[in-house]
Structure formats: structure tokens, C-alpha cells
Symmetry: C3
Subunit: 175 residues, 3 copies
């Protein structure tokens, strides 16, 4: 089974070309560092519009066959920040532990980490995780949760992900 | 007032006898170690079916008069894991602090603790808490939250629970 | 833009005068210590009735123009505790990080912190935060989350809040 991973940059400005998307590439570089298994990326850069985000997530999960979809941007308290709402709308199950853990880790760096509304959830056989907008914070969050990602993908019927153990150690409970 | 505690093992395999239920007995042993007050158990072993779980929780709370109902199993990301959904469906109030604290404690042992979707909530005069499936993790989670359980049961109008203070110390704020 | 802050004491007993409201004044004293900017308070003392709480929150946000509304009381597991439900009902966005962080901090003092169902959320251009009932716990919770409050208010289009940096340091990320 091929490992396909969706990377969705959600930003009004990046989607209209007002500024360059640095967050999507930061996710790609991180996953390249993490994964020993070969993987394909499916990228999107879209505006902060809930129906557009929902549609992109559905396509990546259901048609593109991504076992993991990573979003960046749109998780704050501002009016245009609707990524968590879009994610919740398309997911069957919400995984509260991801948001809790990502905020707990970000709090070690900035007290404004509590303003992030990042969530994660399961849609069919795909795990969707909201990441922050800033490349530095993206890496901090992924480092915190990625050890649990391969086992989660196993549990929902996805492909076996092998990691570079010197970078990130996937944990799979015995028995 | 008698202390009645419900213990619900939620597992397709245990409910059909494919394997022995070790989790329900682990909960019973833990509560025996914790409680100085006499208590009665009301046990169920049922499959991972949301309507069946909801029905069992309703009976234990409303008819059996359990002030505390402890479930084990069915809290992960897999398709058949629906214990949190069934719990939320029958509860009046969700107590987010229990899930947060149980995951935080389990995280000290395994990074996959973030995959647990355990919740707790109030139905009428009963506190329902989802526990993990593995006996070792059950004890870790109960150790983390049980000090707050007797006071919670006080607040919802249940019986007074006295604990063995050398095993677990119930905390009741003064005034 | 004037800084207006709502302070809502939610308590059956305080609202009927059975006992003196100590929690509202504790919030006022804390904000006086925190803020260098001048601010006006809008106070309410109301019973634990969900429609009454919702109405008070709507008035403070929409008519009184409070950029920040702080509630105290009504966040426990008891039947009359409905402050989180009222808050969720009037908010556009729930900010899970506030509740998580306040419980994590309170847990350092009392194991019953997990019984608090405090939440925070955004309604239009207002941030609403549920605080505990006890003056001592109010200060502990506000100390934990206030560094992120001025930036949150910036992001939702509210007035610029300047803090007394020797008491609490507002954090605003660069760029």
C-alpha cells in the first residue's frame, strides 16, 4: 500500500499569492526527515473558507487515499480562523489528545499557545491533524505527536509507516 | 446509602467468550484496594455496539443505582471503538478534566496515550468514567483521578465514600 | 477604544443576598493589579439559571461592548452548575486551551481541579472566560492564562491592553 500524505495550507494570503507558502514546504521537509518508507504528497493551498476546507479534506481522504492529512493555518481565535470547525465537520471521531499535547508542548515556548484551537480526527481510514501556521511551531507540534501517528494509522486500516528512528521513533504497543 | 459501582467491559471478543475478560476484574481489584466503605459491584460484559453500551449505562445509572460506573475498552481510533460516543450520548455533563488528566498520566508511559479518547461525564446522580482496556493502564488512570471521585459523588448527591488512605487519599475541599 | 471588562458572579446564594459576593471583587482587584491601561467594569450577580446567564453574557458582549467577560462560579459537576453550558451556547468558537491550562495549574494545588468544567470562548469581538468560584483559585487561573489575553483581544479586533509587566507580562508574538 502506497503512503500518501495530504498537506493543506490554509491561508487567504498564501492562496492568492500575496505571500509565499512556507508552511506547506516545512511540513514536507519534516515528513521527509521522519519517514523511512517512501511516500507521495498531495498538496493544496486554499483560503480560510470553511466549505472550501471541508471539500479539500474530503477529496484528500476519500479520493486521493491519503492515510494522513496535515493542515497548517486557521486555528486561532480570529473570525477567519475556521480550520478546526471544517475538520470537525468532516471527521467521524475527534482525537482530543492531539490538540491537548500540541498545546502543552507549544506552551513551553509561548504563553499564547492556549489560543490555538488545533484538533485532530479520523475520517474513514484517514487521520487529519491541524498544525499551527508558523514553520517553527509546526516542527515542535509534529515532534510531539508523530511517535503515535504510525500506530494510529495501523488501527484505522492504513499502510505501515516506517520511521527514521534517529529522528522520530514510532511507538507500537506489543500484543 | 449503599455504594454500588458499575463495571462495564466493552469488547467484541470478551463478550463472545473468544477471550477472558481481564479488565473488569482488574477494576474490581483496584476498587477493593481503594475503598474502605463496603460496596457492591454490578458487572456487564458487552460488545462494541453503541446502542448496547448506551443501554447498559442507562440501566446501571437509573435502575441499578450505581453512583459510579467504570467502563473499560473501546476508546481508541478504530472503527469499532465507540465507548466515548455512547458515554457522551447518555451524559448530562461532560467532565473534560478526567480525560485530560488520564491522557497526561498515560503519556508518561507511552506516547500513544494521545490516541485514547476516554471521557467522563455525569448522568443524573452517577459519574461515568471511561478507562483504557489494558489492566496496567487501568490502574495508572484510576490512581490519577480517583482522589477526586468521592467529592464528585458528594456533589451529585451520591453516597459518602471512604477510602483506604494509605492506598488512595480522597480529597474534599474545606468549606 | 475604551477597555470594558464584564465581571459576572454566578451563584444562587450571592444573587439572593444569602451571602456576600467575594468572587466578583477578587476578579476586579486582580485586573486592577494586572492592567496599566484604564478600564471600566460592568458587573452582574446572577443565579445559576442557564437562560439568565446566556442573556447576561449576550448583553455584556453585544450591548455593553466588553472585550473581555470573566465569569465566576457554576462550573462544577452539580446539577445547578450550568455556566459552561451557557457560555458554549453564546460563543462562536470554543478555546479549549484555556480550560486545559486552568485545570493543569489548579491541579498543582488540589486533585479536585479535574472536576472543574471551565471553558473559554469567543463571541463576536469578546473573549469570555469561566473562572472558579473561590477567590484564591481565581487568581491562580488568571495568572496562568492572562499573558495570552491581550493578544487574543487584538486578534478579535478589541482594544490594545497594556499590562503592568512586573505583575503579568502580556505576550504578543513578533511578525
Amino acid at each position: 500500500m502506497t503512503i500518501r500524505i495530504g498537506i493543506v495550507t490554509i491561508s487567504d494570503r498564501a492562496s492568492t499569492g500575496v505571500y509565499e507558502d512556507l508552511s506547506g514546504p516545512a511540513i514536507r521537509d519534516t515528513i521527509n526527515a521522519y519517514l523511512k518508507s517512501p511516500w507521495d504528497e498531495v498538496c493544496r493551498v486554499i483560503p480560510d473558507e470553511q466549505p472550501v476546507i471541508e471539500a479539500a479534506l474530503r477529496v484528500l481522504c476519500d479520493e486521493e487515499g491519503c492515510c494522513l492529512v496535515l493542515t497548517t493555518g486557521g486555528t486561532g481565535p480570529a473570525r477567519r480562523d475556521v480550520t478546526p470547525e471544517a475538520t470537525a465537520a468532516v471527521c467521524d471521531k475527534i482525537m482530543d489528545g492531539f490538540g491537548e499535547q500540541m498545546r502543552a508542548v507549544s506552551l513551553k515556548f509561548v504563553p499564547t499557545a492556549i489560543l490555538s484551537r488545533q484538533i485532530a480526527g479520523i475520517r474513514g481510514q484517514s487521520l487529519i491533524i491541524n498544525l499551527p501556521g508558523k514553520p517553527k511551531s509546526i516542527r515542535e507540534c509534529l515532534d510531539a505527536v508523530f511517535p503515535a501517528v504510525p500506530y494510529c494509522v495501523d488501527l484505522i486500516g492504513g499502510p505501515f509507516m516506517e520511521t527514521n528512528e534517529d529522528v522520530v521513533k514510532a511507538f507500537r504497543p506489543k500484543g
